[in-house]
């Protein structure tokens, strides 16, 4: 038998199989279909955790998602450890292993419980006051200690091996909550034929029908009716039914996020199942049928294990067949707890007494309880509970004072009334309204196309609920354009109903007491703490919440908010609506990071872009660097070379013979159309109209503010066609910039823009032997200097495939850039490589490319410029068309500050000691002897060892730099000041003769 407290014949799990599980190393057996909570209770285990602050022993308060106490760690293996799992929600599977949290060395004996004795030190807001001095101790002592002591559960320390999926879904009517109301609404909507999604957080549909033994619908027991209705809905093509799916966030325009727990309840989920699935649903109409949550009674020591909500005890009995005790007491302020007493009594459990705060309530449940011989005490209160690890007694007193009486019990079932679950309504930005008569916040003003039905709308009684929900479901469908429903409304044959209840502290926990009467179990907030917050000046409920932490943490105050509010309102002497309700925020219940992240992790976090030539470089043992999303070959080490040696060799070989470089990542944009040249004139500083087809030009693009935005070589292929190149990182934003101007400022221009970055593979062949390498493979292009001078472009064929062959150089050597369709990139590279081998050419990577260009003083936008550099600052005035009357940036460039004297200008720096290589980003000063902080006059933008120059080289932005030629400046570093001389930007072949060399 699966537990001594399993009642034969009770509950709905009788057909199921035994499941073995462990809790804190102890083995137990339960039944498939149990939750961890019901299985532990069947074995008589109530003590399952220690509270957050005082480390008080805690048991199960609830049987659902609102559980504040019974948080455990579920461990599948070393990497699959989930802390803070609500035992009331976790479904049992064979082999489940759970551990209690927040206790040391054991659950029954916890050293941290000393906090309970020392509790006067830890009253509300203690951490705002206690640790204020000495000030220095906060960082070194208090904060680390508090952080170590704080928190519930331990986060896993290994990467999550599970995977998580995500789905987008659209529907006409989304019904959230699968109790009687939700099912009725879904039936009404589904019968019209519109697309319906019905979701519920539980494994089984039915909501409160799980415990309401008195409900009969369409001639069936309520829970059985729910299962039959769900089966009908599942059979419809227009309906999707999601169980174990919690709607945790309600966002703008009826966008609802749900998390479906796909495999946490399975013994062996298998690799093909995700752990969870995130549903992002866009619905035309939303029906909220989220029900209500029972509140506890606020009295002294109301947190002892064994004290729980009446509806929870009923759920454990009527659904799971488990008695939560053998001799239970009941403490209530409304009728619903009577039903629990009646059900337990009928199941053979002793009910010691019902204690009812009300004076003379009447009604059928009271009559029935009396008829069963249960002792009922009206007008009395439970003023305290006995026991420590488990409740042993309740002490009863007339509510206005008088003689006490202690009744032995092993469980107390309590009900202070029901709180409508307006969380999702409130998240939808709807405004709640307080009903003074029923003392409930219910949906008031709606902000979105949704409707609340049933208990979450403050509707009492099953009949009224089904009427309201069915009508709302039909109307929601109709609003989306559906025809009238063809089905029939479910008929309620019998139901339960109960009245209001109370808010706030019960007698014995009033303002004149210092007892621990818990309002918020998860944060250990007592009635006294709330009053103290008000006494210390908190007026807004939001301040009370933050000062006491009432309603915070993982349960988000599902059971505590209303009690806390009532106590604050009473202490303030204000009506409840004037004090206001705290804001409900997503998520409704905790959501794993995994479900939010989904597949977007590891290699799928961000795309990795590889060029057509990447596999060749990889095979050659290239070391890669990340440039944006691109992987680029950084250098090609040979025979044990380090980076320094490899780069030196590559740089020297390029200038001596030749080198091949994969430049495919360069951004490429095809600018085409009758007005292409006019467009280029407007987007670049340079003149383009007169550039002959077949020629190239180095172009500079500015933003409207006059600062350099991008650069690149542009080839004119035809009067109406430009092949524009951009920086590797700049391609998307340059395209966006061009489209923006074309569409919105210059829409009269007849131009088309096409990104061709990935269409062309680009192989740079640079060096004195470059022409000799390329020429044998080229057809239809005259490669002579006369026919193909520096900065020209021709179309022809190479290795039999089409090419756009650019004669251009980013190294200062005779150079070419061979563009071929990307699919042929590697084949052409290999053919060129074979030719190159005959001449002793090298492959070179981005590092050598950087060194070679720096030797020539060619800038890299984004490295030597930073968004505050004008063409003049960069020494590129020659590239600005002086006769032009308009281009983007022409006016910005003329702003007073941009033409002022003393601006930072790009210059070369030579270290006095040629062996010393400056650090990029290092600051430059004029006088190293000045006091710190020194006046910085510039910084190093590029710096390398140049094997070709036999010395270090650097570029720097220096105030008034071009007027400082030959001046000595200083670069202060932690281990000494480096002397530098201001020089021109060109370090190698100043005359540029090698372009034709």
């Amino acid at each position: 038998m699966s537990g001594a407290l399993r009642i034969p014949g009770a509950g709905r799990l009788s057909q199921a199989k035994t499941a073995r599980f462990s809790f804190d190393g102890q083995s137990y057996s339960g039944i498939e279909g149990d939750t961890l909570a019901s299985a532990l209770l069947a074995n008589g285990v109530h003590l399952v955790g220690r509270s957050f602050k005082y480390h008080r022993p805690r048991g199960f308060l609830s049987a659902g998602a609102e559980e504040p106490n019974a948080l455990v760690e579920i461990k599948r293996d070393a990497a699959r450890k989930t802390p803070n799992v609500r035992a009331t929600v976790q479904e049992l599977y064979d082999g489940l292993a759970a551990q209690s949290q927040n206790r040391w060395p054991s659950l029954a004996f916890d050293v941290g419980a000393v906090n309970d004795i020392a509790s006067p030190l830890f009253s509300a807001g203690f951490y705002y006051k206690t640790f204020m001095w000495p000030k220095a101790a906060w960082k070194s002592l208090y904060e680390p200690k508090i952080r170590a002591a704080a928190g519930l559960g331990v986060a896993p320390d290994q990467p999550d091996p599970d995977h998580y999926s995500a789905r987008f879904a659209h529907c006409d009517v989304l019904v959230l909550g699968g109790g009687a109301a939700g099912i009725a609404a879904a039936l009404a909507a589904a019968e019209t034929g519109v697309r319906v999604i019905l979701a519920d957080e539980q494994a089984e549909f039915g909501g409160s029908l799980r415990f309401e033994s008195g409900a009969k619908i369409d001639g069936q027991d309520g829970f059985a009716w729910a299962q039959a209705a769900i089966a009908r809905l599942k059979a419809l093509d227009n309906v999707r039914v999601l169980s174990r799916a919690t709607a945790f966030g309600y966002y703008a325009q009826n966008f609802v996020a749900l998390v479906e727990r796909v495999s946490d309840h399975l013994q062996n989920p298998g690799r093909d199942l995700p752990r969870e699935r995130l549903w992002q649903v866009r619905a035309k109409r939303v029906v909220l049928a989220t029900g209500a949550i029972e509140r506890h009674m606020v009295f002294a020591d109301n947190d002892r294990p064994g004290i729980m909500l009446a509806s929870a005890a009923r759920t454990y009995l009527n659904h799971y067949g488990v008695a939560v005790g053998r001799n239970v007491g009941v403490y209530t302020a409304n009728d619903s707890a009577y039903a629990a007493a009646i059900d337990l009594k009928k199941a053979g459990v002793d009910v010691a007494a019902i204690v009812d705060l009300r004076d003379n309530p009447t009604g059928p449940v009271i009559d029935e309880a009396r008829a069963l011989g249960i002792e009922i005490n009206f007008g009395r209160a439970v003023i305290s509970a006995g026991g420590k690890l488990r409740v042993t007694s309740m002490t009863v007193q007339p509510k206005n004072g008088g003689g006490e009486r202690t009744i032995p019990v092993d469980a107390i079932l309590m009900s202070a009334g029901w709180t409508p679950s307006v969380h999702l309504f409130s998240q939808s930005r709807g405004k709640v309204a307080f009903n003074d008569e029923t003392k409930r916040f219910v949906p008031g003003t709606y902000a979105q196309d949704c409707v609340s039905v049933g208990a979450c709308n403050g509707t009492d009684g099953l009949s009224a609920t089904i009427d309201e929900a069915y009508a709302a479901g039909a109307k929601a469908a109709k609003d989306t354009g559906a025809k009238a429903a063809r089905g029939t409304k479910p008929k309620v044959d019998a139901s339960e109903s109960w009245s209001r209840g109370m808010l706030g502290a019960a007698p014995g926990a009033g303002p004149d007491t210092t007892v621990k009467a818990f309002v918020d179990f998860q944060n250990d907030v007592t009635a006294k703490d709330i009053r103290q917050a008000v006494h210390e000046g908190m007026r807004s409920i939001e301040h009370v919440k933050r000062f006491t932490t009432n309603g915070m943490a993982t349960d988000q105050g599902k059971t505590s908010n209303m009690h806390g509010l009532a106590i604050a309102a009473e202490t303030l002497g204000k009506p409840i609506p004037q004090v206001g309700l705290t804001t409900f925020r997503a998520p409704y219940t905790p959501v794993t990071f995994g479900s939010i992240v989904g597949h977007a992790r590891g290699p799928l976090f961000d795309p990795t872009r590889k060029t057509a030539i990447h596999p060749w470089a990889e095979a050659q043992g290239a070391v890669f660097e990340d440039v944006g999303q691109w992987k680029r070959a950084w250098y090609f080490p040979k025979g044990g070379e380090d980076m320094h040696a490899a780069v030196d060799r590559e740089c020297v070989t390029v200038r001596k013979t030749a080198g091949l470089f994969d430049a495919s990542t360069l951004g490429k944009i095809e600018v085409v159309g009758p007005d292409a040249a006019k467009f280029m004139e407007l987007l670049y500083t340079n003149p383009w109209e007169k550039l002959e087809p077949g020629r190239c030009r180095y172009g500079i693009m500015l933003r409207e503010d006059g600062f350099i935005y991008d650069d690149g070589v542009v080839g004119r292929l035809a009067p109406d066609r430009f092949h524009v190149t951009t920086t590797t990182g700049g391609a998307p934003r340059v395209m966006n910039h061009m489209e923006d101007y074309l569409q919105t400022e210059f829409p009269h221009l007849n131009v088309w823009l096409t990104s061709t970055t990935e269409q062309w593979a680009v192989i740079a062949v640079q060096g004195p032997k470059s022409r000799d390498i390329i020429a044998p493979l080229v057809e239809g292009i005259d490669m002579s200097d006369e026919a193909l001078p520096h900065m020209s472009v021709r179309e022809g064929r190479i290795c039999g495939v089409p090419t756009r062959l650019f004669r251009m150089s980013f190294s200062g050597e005779r150079g070419f850039e061979v563009n071929v369709p990307a699919d042929y990139g590697q084949a052409v590279w290999e053919a060129l490589w074979a030719e190159g081998q005959k001449h002793g050419a090298t492959a070179y990577g981005t590092e050598a490319m950087h060194v070679l260009r720096a030797e020539k003083g060619y800038i890299i936008v984004g490295q030597d410029t930073d968004g505050t550099v004008t063409p003049n600052d960069a020494g590129l005035d020659w590239a600005v068309g002086k006769k032009k009357t308009d281009f983007v940036g022409i006016r910005g460039m003329a702003r007073p500050d941009l033409v002022a004297k003393g601006r930072k200008q790009l210059v070369g720096l030579k270290t006095k000691d040629p062996k010393v290589v400056l650090e990029e980003g290092a600051q430059v000063v004029a006088d190293p002897k000045q006091a710190v902080p020194m006046k910085m006059i510039g910084h190093v933008t590029s710096s390398y060892w140049s094997e070709n120059c036999g010395r270090s080289i650097a570029l720097a932005l220096v105030a008034g730099g071009r007027d400082r030629m030959g001046e000595t400046l200083y670069v202060p570093m932690p281990d000494g000041v480096i002397e530098v001389e201001v020089a021109g930007m060109v370090f190698f072949d100043e005359k540029g003769e090698r372009l034709n060399g």
Binding site: Q253, R282, E704, D705, N736, D740, Q743, T744, R891, G892
Partner: protein, 98 residues
């Protein structure tokens, strides 16, 4: 996630497909080179940043790629309407709060 109506696609599409492109109806002068410093400052730097109705540019980046204009309430984050680039500021707004 908001739904935004693209006036070119004539469809409401999720926010993820769009990129904001700053305030709308700020015309670039045909003679920008001749503008005074004050006029250029107004054109390039000064934005209204209102609490309430804003006219702004959006691009249907991952759709038709067109730039268009939208009217949005910065308080409620609601889009009141969208219209094509080049069309004048709408004289009347549907369902404007103020």
């Amino acid at each position: 996630m908001l739904l935004i109506r693209c006036p070119y696609c004539e469809e409401e599409r999720p926010e993820l497909e769009f990129r904001n492109a700053g305030e709308a109806h700020i015309a670039r002068s045909a003679d920008i080179a001749g503008e005074s410093d004050d006029d250029f400052e107004k054109f390039f730097f000064i934005r209204s940043n209102p609490k309430g109705i804003i006219y702004e540019r959006w691009r249907h980046m991952h759709g038709c790629a067109r730039f268009f204009n939208a009217v949005r309430d910065t308080v409620s984050d609601k889009f009141l309407m969208t219209y094509k680039a080049g069309e004048p500021k709408p004289a009347k707004l549907p369902g404007a709060s103020k």
